[in-house]
């Protein structure tokens, strides 16, 4: 397995939101694991950086948290998507797709002729 990529600026929030949308209410550790797995273990995520990011999303009202019990009976804070968060996710996903599409056109060899 080659060098792992760092999570680049601004994309962590999108990953978190998408993960919660797919998985339903989830605790911080679960979200971190899921992001790593989804990336096919290509991303190196420092789990500690996740918590301020979660807090930020919560302060912005995109996610809400509640205490609950995990599968193996551990007390944990579960995060779920709010309506505002769903909207934000849609918007950011669209923006991201647009950005990647633009960058892709620069990189594809046929881009110039098209």
């Amino acid at each position: 397995m080659g060098k792992k990529a760092d999570v680049w600026q601004g994309t962590l929030a999108l990953m978190v939101l998408k993960t919660i949308e797919t998985m339903g209410p989830l605790h911080g550790y679960g979200i971190a694991r899921r992001i790593e797995q989804t990336s096919g273990n290509l991303l190196s995520l420092n789990y500690g950086t996740l918590y301020p990011a979660l807090l930020k999303l919560e302060q912005e009202g995109s996610i809400a948290s509640d205490w609950g019990v995990s599968d193996n009976n551990r007390r944990a804070k579960f995060y779920k998507l709010t309506r505002a968060g769903r909207k934000q996710l849609e918007k950011e996903a669209r923006d991201w797709e647009q950005t990647t599409a633009i960058v892709a056109r620069f990189l594809s060899p046929s881009g110039e002729e098209a």
Binding site: H27, G28, Y29, G30, R33, N46, Y47, G48, T49, Y51, P52, L55, K56, Q59, E60, G61, S62, S70, N72, R74, R75, A76, K77, A84, Q88
Partner: protein, 882 residues
């Protein structure tokens, strides 16, 4: 929106919250536990599982820290913490805090207060349209550079000039306001039709005068001021069109002026009427009673306009040599006309306040340096525990901000209070001449000055400790009893600052002493009469009822007879203008039988009753006083002042000579019957003009002052006097009930001198105090740093007197340097004061010497205490400090 929400949540996070902290710990540790569980399931040992989980997290504490930073606003959180800490520090040291805060508050208070006055008088734009284009226009003669125009001269100047876009005139007048409650004397002004248009003032109610409304045949109308509207008409809007009787003449009110309107030259005028040239003065080219105000045409400078009106004046001189010879012209910016007199005083006070602030700041800086010197170890310890330079600097900033915040809060509150107090101390009479001061307050410009002083001092105090504290060298600071080189630097810098303080104190003390001496000279100026035990009251008679000279003269006699019959009254006199009011109300005279080449012989003219000179106790030098029989049926007589006798009849006896007007018209010829010693008719500080006195019976006036000499306290007869006058005729107006001594001490000149002497004196006292405190601080600091050295010297056999000498010599050098610098600065700055001085030279050696002695004595006292402490050092204790 999202961002704002996040910020608000974080702002709320500044409040301490123990639940949040517990949740945070629970969450992170719970998640680590989940990770460990999973690692265990994948077959790791517990230790390995835990290590891996923590490693993957990036450390538990750093994670918590990052989380906390996100949950609040770190910058604010630190700031709050710093502030709390600095307030604790300041409370720990109340002596230092109180001194520093008080000094700062004092400096700020003085500056903000004085600046508010400067702003109201000199900076705030006048309430006219484009006020910088307005000028005051005057005729000028040698004796009087800014004198009124005559009506015909005004008309000619207006017609002939090409520099004014408009040119109008005004003159003061008095009315008796007849309202149901009785007769009230009120002030008014008569103006030419375009006066308010020239100023660019539009009535808020009704209309302006139209051009031509000032002509004799136009109906009598009046525009009233806002205060007058409120006072006499209850602010009712139907005032327009109402008729008001002014001195018996009905006037229709056509307009109300804006609330912020003021016009200092006629600050007391409540009723403004169109000019309607009268027959007494405005039908002669030689009678000057109108002051001009003009708006300059675009692109015309004040200089150009001056040259233009001078040219017109020269032309008129040739055209009308009889009346206009020697009549020049003068113009002044209107702002100068309105606030010119008060400017030097205000600027001087502002300078004084500035110096005071400087001293206060120097002292606070010196205190801060001493303090940070004493905190060397504390700072070194905090540094050793990991505080960064930036963090330490932030601490200093927080401390200075706390100091400045408290000091400036107190300062601005005190300034607000001081403004209210000072404005109340200005006599009402003077206030009418400075109506712009009513706009005094903490406006945006004053607050801007306040904010910039506060910020500048906060900045200064923030960087100060960095000069002395061991921000760089930790080990040196930790070393017990170390003597850093920084301390020596401060001893040098501090000494220089103290020299500066002492010099400043010296400058202010010299200023105060000179002003004090001036005031003393002013009050002891030779008046030519005895002002004690004289009660005075002004009487205004309605023009309609007392239209003829006979009626007016009869009224004068009745008033005198009635007043003389009152108990406790020794003698009674009347004069149309009492002494110590102003030079003016002049006559141009010529002597019968002398060659005449049109020279300007202008004298004060006063009409006085027969007993006037005896009542005021003026000295008769030759001839006789007036007799009651010198009335209209007898030949006209005149008494002249000694100054006129000396000027016009050197080495001759003037008694029996005759005086007339410039044309020697038969009606004007009067025989000189007496010479009195010069009575000071004008302000205390201006030269005595030659004067002539006419019998009241031969030239009565409708407005005159009754002067009563009593053996009792002069105030006690005033109520009786005013009652007696109203018994004679209820339609008579009385005003300015006062005593001669009060009139003198409240005269603008005395007031200006007294208040500037007091204010500068107060500044000087504070400066002396602060300078001495500064010297004490530096000397005490030096002693505390030399304790070890002194101990060694004493152990080696030095006498206590040697130690005294050692310390006093150090302080003595500083004092001497301060005094020398002070003398040099005083000599330069005192010359700026020259305008305000009276009877004393700005380089008065006795004053300089006395002030230097006071300063030296105070400085000696200030350095005596530290010297005594140094001399009482026990060598054993001193050496043990190490």
């Amino acid at each position: 929106m999202k961002r704002l929400r996040a910020w608000l949540v974080r702002l709320a996070g500044l409040l301490p919250n123990s639940r949040r902290e517990r949740d945070l710990i629970d969450e992170i540790e719970g998640n680590v536990q989940l990770h460990i569980d999973e690692n265990l399931r994948s077959g790791m040992s517990y230790l390995e599982a835990r290590r891996n989980a923590i490693l993957k997290l990036g450390g538990i504490e750093p994670t918590k820290e990052a989380y906390r930073d996100r949950s609040t606003i770190p910058f604010l959180e630190n700031l709050l913490q710093d502030t709390r800490f600095s307030i604790r520090q300041l409370r720990k040291n109340p002596g230092f805090t109180a001194t520093a805060v008080l000094m700062l508050a004092l400096g700020l208070c003085a500056n903000v207060t004085i600046f508010a006055f400067v702003d109201a008088a000199l900076i705030k734009p006048l309430p006219y349209r484009d006020p910088t284009r307005l000028i005051g226009v005057y005729e000028s003669i040698q004796l009087c550079p800014e004198c009124p125009l005559s009506y015909f001269d005004y008309l000619d100047w207006k017609k002939l000039n090409h520099v004014f876009s408009s040119f109008d005139v005004y003159t003061g007048t008095g009315y008796l306001l007849n309202n149901p409650a009785g007769t009230e004397p009120v002030h008014g002004a008569r103006v030419s039709g375009g006066f308010f248009r020239t100023l660019g003032v539009v009535p808020i109610l009704g209309r302006d005068f139209y051009s031509g409304e000032d002509q004799p045949r136009a109906p009598n109308t009046a525009i009233i001021t806002y205060t007058s509207w409120q006072k006499w008409f209850g602010g009712r809007r139907d005032v327009i069109g109402q008729t008001v009787r002014l001195s018996g003449v009905p006037h229709t009110i056509v307009g109300v002026l804006p609330r912020d309107f003021h016009f200092a030259p006629r600050g007391d005028a409540e009723f403004w009427a169109p000019l309607h040239p009268n027959a007494s003065c405005e039908n002669r080219r030689g009678c000057h009673n109108l002051l001009g105000v003009a708006r300059l045409k675009d692109g015309v400078s004040v200089q150009t306009s001056l040259a233009a009106v001078k040219l017109i004046a020269q032309q008129l001189e040739k055209q009308y040599p009889d009346s206009n010879r020697g009549q020049g012209a003068n113009v002044l910016p209107l702002s100068e006309v309105i606030a010119g007199k008060i400017r030097p005083i205000l600027l001087m006070l502002l300078g004084g306040a500035g110096l005071l602030l400087l001293i206060a700041c120097v002292n606070v800086v010196s205190l801060l340096l001493v303090r940070s010197e004493n905190r060397r170890r504390e700072i070194a310890v905090r540094r050793a525990l990991g505080a960064s330079t930036a963090r330490l600097m932030r601490q200093f900033v927080a401390e200075s901000l706390a100091l400045v915040a408290i000091g400036s809060g107190l300062g601005v509150a005190a300034a607000y209070w001081a403004m209210q107090l000072l404005i109340k101390l200005i006599p009402a009479d003077m206030m009418t001449g400075m109506p712009y001061l009513l706009g005094l307050g903490l406006n945006i410009r004053v607050l801007a000055l306040f904010a910039s002083i506060s910020l500048a001092s906060a900045l200064l105090f923030s960087i100060t400790p960095a000069f002395s504290s061991p921000l760089s060298d930790m080990r040196e600071g930790m070393a017990e009893g170390s003597r850093g080189s920084a301390g020596n630097t401060w001893r040098r810098v501090g000494s220089k600052l103290v020299v500066l303080e002492l010099a400043t104190a010296m400058v202010l003390l010299v200023g105060a002493a000179l002003l004090g001496e001036s005031f003393y000279h002013l009050l002891h100026v030779d008046l030519g009469f005895q002002p004690d035990h004289l009660a005075t009251i002004d009487i205004a008679a309605p023009e309609k009822a007392y239209a003829t000279d006979e009626k007016a003269a009869a009224l004068g006699r009745r008033v005198v007879t009635r007043a003389a019959s009152l108990p406790r009254v020794n003698s009674v006199g009347i004069a149309n203008i009492p002494p110590v009011s102003f030079n003016g109300n002049t006559d141009w005279i010529r002597f019968v039988g002398w060659p005449y080449h049109g020279e300007h012989n202008e004298v004060n003219t006063r009409e006085v009753s027969s007993n006037y000179f005896r009542t005021v106790r003026a000295k008769l030098l030759r001839g006789r006083y007036f007799a009651e029989s010198d009335d209209a049926s007898k030949p006209s007589v005149v008494i002249i002042s000694q100054a006129l006798a000396k000027k016009s009849f050197p080495g001759e006896d003037p008694i029996g000579r005759r005086i007339g007007d410039t044309e020697l018209s038969p009606k004007s010829i009067r025989q000189i019957v007496g010479i009195v010693d010069d009575i000071r008719e004008g302000p205390l500080d201006s030269d005595t003009w030659p004067s002539e006195y006419l019998p009241f019976n031969q030239g009565p006036d409708n407005y005159f002052t009754l002067l009563v000499r009593t053996s009792q306290a002069e105030r006690s007869v005033l109520p009786m006097l005013s009652a007696a006058i109203h018994q004679i005729d209820p339609s008579l107006g009385t005003l300015n009930e006062s005593t001669m001594r009060e009139r003198i001490s409240e005269s603008p000149t005395a007031y200006v001198h007294r208040s500037s002497a007091w204010l500068v004196g107060a500044f000087a006292g504070l400066a002396l105090l602060l300078g001495v405190v500064g010297l004490y601080g530096v000397t005490a600091y030096s002693v505390s740093r030399r304790t070890h050295e002194i101990g060694v010297r004493m152990a080696l056999g030095a006498e206590r007197s040697t130690v005294y000498r050692l310390i006093l010599k150090e302080a003595g050098w500083l004092t001497a340097a301060g005094i020398v610098a002070g003398v040099v600065c005083s000599l330069t700055t005192a010359s700026l004061l020259a305008k305000l001085l009276f009877g004393v030279s700005s380089s008065d050696t006795a004053t300089l010497g006395a002030v230097a002695a006071i300063l030296a004595a105070s400085a000696l006292l200030a350095s005596y205490f530290p010297a005594r402490r140094a001399a009482s050092v026990n060598p054993v204790d001193a050496l043990r400090i190490e």
